[in-house]
Symmetry: C2
Subunit: 596 residues, 2 copies
Amino acid sequence: MLEHLGSFKRTHYCGEISEKDLGKDVKVAGWVDTTRDHGGVVFIDLRDRTGKVQVVFSPEISKELVEKAKKLRHEYVVAVEGEVRRRPEGTENPKLKTGNYEIYAKKLQILNRSLPLPFPIEDNVKVSEEVRLKYRFLDLRRPKMAENLLFRHRLYRVVREVFNEEGFVEVETPYLTKSTPEGARDFLVPSRIYPGKFYALPQSPQLFKQILMVAGIDRYYQIARCFRDEDLRADRQPEFTQIDFEMSFVAERDVMAVAEKFIRRAYKELLGIEIGEIPVMTYDEAMSRFGTDRPDTRFGLELKEITDIAKQCNFKVFRSVAEKGGIVKALNFKGGAKLSRKEIDELTKFVGVYGAKGLAWIKVLPDGLQSPIVKFFTEGEMNEILKRLEAEVGDILFFVADKPEVVNAALANLRLKLGKMANLIDESKVNILWVVDFPMFEWNEEEERWEALHHPFTSPKEEDIEKLLENPGAVRARAYDMVLNGVEIGGGSIRIHREDVQEKVFKVIGLSEEEAKERFGFLLEALKYGAPPHGGMAFGLDRLCAIMRGEESIRDVIAFPKTQRGQCLLTGAPDTVREEQLDELHIEVKTKEEGD
Amino acid sequence: MLEHLGSFKRTHYCGEISEKDLGKDVKVAGWVDTTRDHGGVVFIDLRDRTGKVQVVFSPEISKELVEKAKKLRHEYVVAVEGEVRRRPEGTENPKLKTGNYEIYAKKLQILNRSLPLPFPIEDNVKVSEEVRLKYRFLDLRRPKMAENLLFRHRLYRVVREVFNEEGFVEVETPYLTKSTPEGARDFLVPSRIYPGKFYALPQSPQLFKQILMVAGIDRYYQIARCFRDEDLRADRQPEFTQIDFEMSFVAERDVMAVAEKFIRRAYKELLGIEIGEIPVMTYDEAMSRFGTDRPDTRFGLELKEITDIAKQCNFKVFRSVAEKGGIVKALNFKGGAKLSRKEIDELTKFVGVYGAKGLAWIKVLPDGLQSPIVKFFTEGEMNEILKRLEAEVGDILFFVADKPEVVNAALANLRLKLGKMANLIDESKVNILWVVDFPMFEWNEEEERWEALHHPFTSPKEEDIEKLLENPGAVRARAYDMVLNGVEIGGGSIRIHREDVQEKVFKVIGLSEEEAKERFGFLLEALKYGAPPHGGMAFGLDRLCAIMRGEESIRDVIAFPKTQRGQCLLTGAPDTVREEQLDELHIEVKTKEEGD
């Protein structure tokens, strides 16, 4: 028979029992983590959010109590009253924070039972993520998962401390808003009151925070949920959390200074790590040296360009690429000359994923170069290549020749792969840098139009505004991304605050005046009534939290995440609904025959 | 020609200029609030989030500057650099915090223009709410509205201070979840990946916070957005904000203590008001004395029951009601004997709204009683009525006889109306009380079934659990509501943590085992694996904020509210979407012919 809590009132958390409680009567409550019967004395480890403490039920105190304690099973919920004693010498448990003490129980209330568990409540348990997500209420009892949620809570605190200190005003922006498809797909919410009309869940509070700047709020922040109905990519969630902020009357450095203050404080307060000076790298430099705008600078293995040599060499593959406006880049995998043919073939396949049609290589062996391509180069050319790549005996050089996007993507990913393979990455390092001076637009080959690289509210550099219509490709954006160990953890920009500039940018990306008005009319309207210069940024909180906790997946730092296919295995969402619900919303589900 | 911000960096907010800045050069930025030309000297009031400061453009300093300043119009955005001086004697503006100072401009940058405004940026402006909502970016520049958002920000801070201090862990719960219709309608979100399936936006984080307790989080809080697709009632929003919290191993008093700490701190820190002891009133007492479970105790005018007298009197209307199980209650409107016949008729119409078929009355005049009903009572009966109602010369007594629900609703609302009419309510008072001991269920006449008065996860009182199935009407809930000046600002309960009790409650409210499993299977499942006793509460943040700010409408404390018909007049949401979007979601809009 289960007991009621009655007048029980906890005095301590389990993990808090310490020297100063010796001899005192305490009341604790929690879950039975383990139970042992040693010659008629029952020992349990009682667990709560803070940790575990040993509770002893001894016949010395009460035989009935011991009998009752014998009924306890894993994860039963109990309240215990007893005296804190020092454990007898030799029985201490140094692995436990409370390992020098035990509670001599005088009273036991069994508050709830538990069925046998689908998996044990311990870290590093071998169980599929599906089962963990279905039984999330058990999964979150595991110490590491509980600590993930506590860490996330502390991260929220740091966010708020920093932004409050800096005079930011927390404002909630709407979650039921207007669909302005740009980039990702919107989640839609049918309106009951307006048949055939829909709200959209916001992909970010971008437009609202800009409106808040026009409204004179001056400094805004919010830990905001964002929604993107994106195609399924590894470790994305349909809803995710952003640390979102915006400031008026500022330039890039002002926004970046606040972001730096936050990231420094977070690392210092939560992990005791001092972040040094945060370097700034241009987009061009990042692409040139690392082939990506989010370089992992914890290790070298940088890319070197040899397009100039390729242009004049006799190796047709390289030369024709170079002549057609492509590029040739290479990297030197130190000590990689021992790679087997099979391994090289695998790497060739790997770069193929990024569109590279081949992976040329040169091994630098004690007795000379070994390579299928060396013969196409003059000694002078080859010496220049070896010099540029600082090649030494034992190295292997890899080359990709193609359009710049392909070369960079292929070699950037190859670089990461080789870096991991050779253990070049010091996992204890926290390398943060800014990437700036992004191009404003990129050419979308498929749709044959310019697209905003960040978003169309990003301000072009002042000196580039004149080039907007004539030469969009040459326009640089006032954007900045923060990159942590090769992951973009935040990004932002100074925004457009002038209506004429905003209209030009919409024009460049192919929005007609009507379309622009239809989608973003309220922003254009707001820009007419005294919009101040402003800019801001957003951090991906889930990702940042995962990196700080050393978790591979953001799902491990979200209380109730969805699977990669967007399901909540705990509740069963999404699910069918009653026909009347759809009727009220004036929609119906299309049958396969009709559409699809 | 507009200028760029360039290297301008603000040193002060406008409202911050003070004695210690005298003689210093400062840089300020903001909006031109007013502009005056006095004999070739241009004065502007420059405004930002913090207030206003006067800026002087004098030909003494630069004639070009004065010419430039003459171009300024209302709400132009400018940056100004200049020296802080004391205003000449006699020209101070005591209404302005900065009214003793002015900035002698040395530099002016015009950063943006503004069209003429649809309404002036000042408080108490006469403009429709529609226009205000459409131009929310201007509306929020009005000092009172800006202050509302700042106040709300400070309220968030108090919430977090209190709950962090008390060891609560902030956890984000999902916004894309499962539809479990109970009470209000759900907003639905069609799934692209699972044709014919839908997410629902949560009406509250109720089930997730209970799951967090089962997960051992122990103390959870969140400032959570909630979504209810309710029928349009005055001053409700389809999305609203809740201060949501939950605790394990607690009884009612523990939850109430945390709630009290929060409300005391909020009033003390934000308004300097000390909240005294918070009284606890039972549901029965509240209904008896005030006819409502959210009594406004700032004034008397309490209801008195006279059913016992009605039962035996000769006034058929009263007697037949009393004999059929109805009740008769009355209130004494002090000094109301001067009400005209017409005024009484209006009050009769008013109580009719709440279902009362009539409003009997007795005037106590110097020369005796005046009333259509006095003749039906014996002198003894009448004396008892007068005594019970403490009637004195000049009073009017009002009576309603009907079913208890009708009598209470009619007289509770009449009481409020009369209280306002006679100015009985001291608006400076902050009266907070708890209402407890609610019935667990109420009978839904239409659907002929028991309904949970709070929600079906509320725990019955321990001693009433046995009555659950036999006598649901007699079961009291472990629920508590906090009432502030007659408004329910928060409510909660100790929850059910035992599967068998939860199943019984589902049974009482008419859910079959299959339905219960289908809707709440994951909760029932969680209760099987060691669910601790737990309870919690939620405050309505929008409402609380509005009351604290003295705003009539919650829309005035929400940055981007929707109209009563659920529209966002700023963005135009909800709106039509592209056909392809619906195709991807496997839904189509029903035409009028097909459905509806």
